[in-house]
């Protein structure tokens, strides 16, 4: 693996979005935009995103990983994360990838909310396909899960020597400030029928009503409080996505 083929940089109109471009040794035969999830899932997925990006780049697929405004290394505070801005940043990142890789219609990949963002962005830009790994399709249910996990944090004896106050845990989800606007945006999120070709990668047996589902196991413990700081690693995911990119010649 040539580490100097992985290029960290800032891009976007204000030069404030962080990206990591995985170049290919030869002209890229395809390109993948990796849309990260939000919150703690972003941190938990960092390693598997990098592993997948390296695997794809080694097979001739250029990859751009990036962080939305208010996340990761990009500018902005966590409290500023905004759904519409995430979708807009995805469009900017797609344009950056097209320019760097010389590929007009990249594939978009995303885990959890990253998959949901990629699907939302697909209505505004031309992706050859979206590969969505356990995407959030019912935002209201997702908000309820996060609220429950955050409430349980207050009395988490594995973390605190005594319970914290309600005020201590308010307006946050698992380590990150969350604004009212993002909460409302997520509560309204509903991923219904999508127009873009989509491969749904399902570790939760939650997407059986969709077409073109690739089931993988074991189930990813996205919502397990005991593993909230444990990295998500999934050889099955890397195998499924790499296999998909190998088998398909996109128009």
């Amino acid at each position: 693996m040539r580490s100097d083929a992985e290029i960290p940089f800032f891009f976007g109109p204000g030069g404030d979005l962080f990206g990591m471009f995985h170049a290919t040794a030869q002209p890229a035969r395809q390109a993948v935009l990796m849309c990260p999830p939000l919150g703690q899932d972003l941190i938990r997925c960092h390693r598997v995103y990098r592993q997948l990006a390296q695997s794809l780049a080694a097979s001739g697929v250029a990859v751009l990983r990036f962080d939305y405004h208010g996340t990761g290394d990009s500018a902005g505070d966590s409290a500023e994360v905004d759904w519409d801005r995430c979708v807009a940043d995805t469009l900017v990142a797609a344009a950056e990838l097209r320019s760097r890789a010389g590929v007009e219609r990249p594939v978009a990949f995303g885990a959890r909310l990253g998959g949901s963002i990629a699907l939302s962005a697909s209505a505004k830009t031309r992706f050859a396909e979206v590969i969505a790994w356990d995407p959030v399709t019912d935002g209201a249910a997702y908000v309820a899960v996060l609220d429950t996990m955050q409430a349980s944090l207050r009395e988490d004896a594995n973390r605190f020597i005594r319970p914290r106050t309600h005020a201590d845990v308010a307006a946050q989800w698992l380590g990150f400030d969350v604004g009212d606007r993002l909460r409302e945006q997520l509560a309204r999120l509903r991923i219904g029928i999508v127009q873009v070709p989509t491969l749904w990668i399902d570790s939760q047996q939650a997407l059986q009503d969709r077409q073109r589902v690739a089931a993988i196991s074991p189930p990813v413990p996205w919502n397990d409080m005991r593993k909230v700081e444990t990295a998500i690693l999934s050889p099955a995911l890397i195998h499924a996505v790499s296999g998909r990119l190998k088998e398909t010649a996109y128009a």
């Binding site: 992985e6 960290p8 505070d77 201590d168």
Partner: protein, 279 residues
């Protein structure tokens, strides 16, 4: 202030983000090391918030990934982990010197990051200060008394114990133990104390912040002295025990108080106007 993304190092194998204030060059720089396996943004983005707050106070910063962590690669040089950490920090200091003219450095590390910061602070004269968050800790007699006495004196605990005894299934009834997030393998205590003495004798300023999240190892402000002896009373040493917080500062209010504490310690010990001129 601007942030710059860098690939750097002796094998161009390291990735980091330098924060360079617009002020004059020649300042003391602050370098933040990985906490456990979390990439350079830190647990819950702690390192991003920390470096930006420190940048706003006028200090150049670098948050980066050590070899094999985050986005950084291995060098393949056959070094021990200690040699690798020292070489990576040498690369990091050289980068911040090139970008902002820094000659002296403050290292900040949480858990394994504190351990790595310790290794370098003990040997590299360019390190003028270090912030150890939940670094080395050793249970002491005081720790055991503070841990066990309240439990022995708790009638409710005895009642629960006696209720469980006949079935003999206490272990299986209890909640599963969470997987450890980070772990610091303890170096011999006498060695660690000798290192601290060496650091303060060279003029290195040390800030210890320990949390309630490691109460199985450390559970009171007094334990700094119990663990490490009189060096903890040296004027170059500042200690703070945050009983209510967890190990990785998952609550944003706790994180803000931690950052304010580090910022205050930094400006008291390395005033921005005089930064870079410390012996």
């Amino acid at each position: 202030m601007r942030e710059e993304a860098h690939r750097f190092g002796r094998a161009r194998h390291l990735v980091g983000i330098a924060g360079v204030p617009g002020a004059a060059r020649g300042e003391t720089g602050v370098i933040v090391l990985n906490a456990g396996l979390v990439h350079r943004i830190g647990p819950f983005r702690l390192h991003v918030e920390l470096t930006r707050q420190i940048n706003a106070a006028g200090y150049p910063t670098l948050r980066f990934d050590l070899s094999t962590l985050g986005d950084s690669a291995a060098t393949g040089g056959g070094q021990t982990r200690t040699q690798q950490v020292c070489a990576d920090l040498d690369d990091a200091m050289n980068l911040l010197k090139a970008r902002a003219g820094c000659e002296k450095f403050i290292l900040v590390g949480l858990c394994s990051g504190a351990q790595n910061a310790h290794i370098v602070a003990a040997t590299d004269p360019r390190v003028a200060g270090a912030v150890f968050l939940d670094g080395y800790a050793y249970p002491t007699l005081g720790h055991k008394l503070r841990h066990y006495l309240p439990r022995i004196a708790d009638p409710g605990r005895w009642a629960r114990f006696l209720r469980r005894r006949p079935s003999g299934t206490a272990a299986t009834e209890s909640a599963p133990t969470p997987e450890p997030v980070f772990a610091v393998a303890a170096a011999p205590r006498e060695e660690v104390i000798a290192d601290f003495n060496g650091m303060v004798e060279r003029g290195t300023k040390l800030y210890f912040v320990y949390s309630g999240g490691i109460s199985d190892q450390f559970n009171h402000e007094r334990q700094f002295r119990e663990c490490f002896g009189k060096v903890m009373s040296h004027p170059a040493v500042t200690t703070r025990y945050l009983a209510e917080t967890d190990h990785t500062y998952i609550l944003t209010g706790d994180r803000a108080r931690l950052l304010d504490g580090i910022g205050g310690w930094l400006t008291r010990n390395f005033p921005p106007a005089a930064a870079g001129r410390h012996a």
